[in-house]
Amino acid sequence: MPISVLLPALSPTMTEGKIARWLVKEGDEVASGTVLAEIETDKATMEVESVDDGTMGKILVEAGGDPIPVNTPIALILAEGEDASALDAAPKAEAPKAEAKPEPEPKPEAKPEPKAEAKPAPRAESVSANVPVGALDSNSPLHITESAFSTDDPVTEPEPAFAKSAPMTVREALRDAMAEEMRRDKDVFLMGEEVAQYNGAYKVSQGLLDEFGAQRVIDTPITEMGFTGLGVGAAMSGLKPIIEFMTFNFSMQAIDHIINSAAKTLYMSGGQLGTPIVFRGPNGAASRVGAQHSQCYASWYAHCPGLKVIAPYSASDAKGLLKAAIRDPNPVIFLENELIYGQSFEVPEDEDYVVPIGKAAIKRRGAHVTLTAFSRMVGVALHAAEELAKEGIEAEVIDLRTIRPLDLPTIVHSVKKTNRLVSIEEGWPYAGIGSEIVSLVCEYAFDWLDAPPLRVTGKDIPLPYAVNLEKMSLPEVADIVAAAKAVVAR
């Protein structure tokens, strides 16, 4: 049986084409790779090569005619040993049926039962996380059902009273978390600028080089894209890197590897290749360091499926969540804040104290308004709640702790009680975390709202340097108090 040569699609959008000229004639020998003809598409003239060996038996469509649909037979090739008589047996040898098969998008008929011969490598168990963000299709496993909100109180444990605890700064808590996990697992290592001999630009890695040596605590050149990509490669092969950014502002140099190489690979590999890696460092405004060193990246990273995003406030959460992040098999963004590195909190002494990712904490109970915040803003919100209490307004303060996956049930449950919401963040307002929270609360608790939810955010400007202007740019206690009063309408 002669082999049909079909008019090929030569681009993702090509539906028809014209034969500009034939480069072989009937009777010519052809082989794999022989250029048979030139085809004019809507964009260009391209060559069509043979993929078979044999003799050009019959040209079905002459050059220079009208455009014909993709997949129309244009020629017949006789295989080795066939002679011209075989052409008569060919079904479409009669005439160039230019009008035949007008199928602009040829679709293969997938047989229901695939031959299960080629087996991709087994993939690791994977799940979809409880992430409502951007995926509210009710068919999606990310969809949150009503029943998730129906429990009396999803936060079963209030702030735990630790059996044995000691005061510790956030800085020390982060250091201890890394040290404990590095003792526990030899595949964990720390890499970044000034993390080893200098003990960290902000002294977070103090003492780690002494304990673990230069093999596992690694000073890098100033080369964020390079060492981030290197860390991702190491993680793909099974190591568990902690990549420190001196500040998250510098992660913009490396964001391609965080998103394209780390966050998307598990999906693109059909579940074969996870990337267990933690990216950590200070995020957001510090003090008088100007616009390029003062951005909050929570909403940038929270936008991306395949990442987890954590932003703790207290030292115990910093420790417990960093340990959870290091143990997590996924890429995790861990946003710290320079201004609270030196603050002290009670931290449990138990080495196995791990805080689960994806759970918010209610830091203060109240019935009149829900305040959501993360990182340093939790402290500001708690302060605001004290001020509000003096005026008889009881605010419920939720420390989000994890930004993605967001603990939506805790937020919705609280709003159903208080009927009012103020979201607080130091990042910019447009497409920020507050925008997402307000949107989700409207989707899940609209009927419970007694006032439009409000956002308290950093101002929509590059952060100024001047002391007075900088102060005006970031959320303060007074801003939160004013917003809370506005939604409570007092």
Partner: protein, 338 residues
């Protein structure tokens, strides 16, 4: 030649010594498999069975075939989006690769990755990367992990001439040299980054010298001759394996097809393409050597041709018969369970 390749950056001038017929025959088979596989992929693309971008490796077969003939089981491979040949050379199943091209559940990524995004943990093949140059730090990280674990594996990190002007390539060279990582950077110089020739994009076109500033030895090798590739690269790879740090190999090669399926390749002359095909084809070269050796005859080569055609035909059948991924796969593989 008495100059140590570790001490200088050089062009290779040595003539290939005799190579075992057995080794050459297996490389001939591999190159033929890649060639026929790619031709079939081009055909399936033409039929609308493969979508999007599809970058064929036709013409460059000797590069990956010659280099991977030096590989050990614990070596790693990472490359760009022109990756089908690398997967086959890494020993991945043509059926699984082709089914990924058609976006079916039998594909290596279960239809979720496509031509540019395929992986095989089992074969230490780490992609398939769609961002030009991104595989270079990743490959450096794979080598970092090999060193961290004290293994004697090396990583073959393939990049094109279009990638060599990306900053991250030099960030990687610097760290690899600084930490003496076991990585073989293979620059496949096929003369054009998409439609821009090396001369129009690179201030220095001697790409094998690109590691010089970091003290990385480099070598330029004729990438159209598989024997040459294997023999010239062998001592360089051996040094990398011995812990002497990275090397840069520039393989001079040529792609016969456009950058991707939809590229009419107007930036080069037809004569240039046909000269390369007729005078420098890596498969024809190997064929001549094999026949000259007397170990095989035309009939035996024809038999190989038939076998390869059957393998590729089977892969194409599988890739069309395999079902599309189930709708329930839409939300899986986003995160692993902690």
């Amino acid at each position: 030649m008495s100059v140590s390749p570790r001490k200088s950056t050089r062009r290779s001038t040595a003539k290939p010594a005799d190579v075992s017929t057995e080794s050459l025959l297996s490389q001939y088979r591999m190159m033929l498999l890649i060639r026929r596989f790619e031709e079939k992929a081009g055909q399936l693309y033409g039929m609308g069975l493969i979508g999007g971008f599809c970058h064929l490796y036709i013409g460059q077969e000797a590069v990956v075939t010659g280099l991977q003939s030096l590989a050990q089981d614990n070596d790693c491979i990472v490359t760009s989006y022109r990756d089908h040949g690398h997967m086959l050379a890494a020993g991945m199943d043509p059926k699984g690769v082709m089914a990924e091209l058609t976006g079916r559940s039998g594909g290596y990524s279960r239809g979720k990755g496509g031509s540019m995004h395929m992986f095989s943990r089992e074969k230490n093949f780490f992609g398939g990367h769609g961002i030009v140059g991104a595989q270079v730090p990743i490959g450096t990280g794979l080598a970092f992990a090999q060193r961290y674990r004290g293994e004697d594996g090396v990583t073959y990190c393939y990049l094109g001439d279009g990638a060599v002007n990306q900053g991250q390539v030099y960030e990687s060279f610097n760290m690899a040299a600084l930490w003496k990582l076991p990585v073989v950077y293979v620059i496949e110089n096929n003369k054009y980054g998409m439609g821009t020739s090396v001369e129009r994009s690179s201030a220095s076109v001697e790409l094998y010298k690109r590691g010089q500033a970091y003290g990385i030895p480099g070598m330029q090798i004729d990438g159209m001759d598989v024997v040459h590739v294997q023999q010239q690269a062998a001592p360089m790879v051996a040094d990398v394996r011995a812990g002497k740090g990275p090397c840069v190999l520039e393989l001079q090669t040529y792609r016969y097809r456009g950058h991707s399926m939809s590229d009419p390749a107007k930036y080069r002359s037809k004569e240039e393409v046909s000269r390369m095909r007729q005078e420098h084809d890596p498969i024809d070269n190997a064929k001549v050597l094999l026949l000259k050796s007397g170990a095989v005859d035309e009939a035996a080569l024809k038999e190989i041709d038939k076998e390869i055609k059957a393998i590729v035909g089977e892969a194409a059948d599988f890739a069309q018969a395999s079902a599309e991924p189930d709708a329930t796969e839409l939300f899986t593989d986003v995160l692993l369970e902690a």
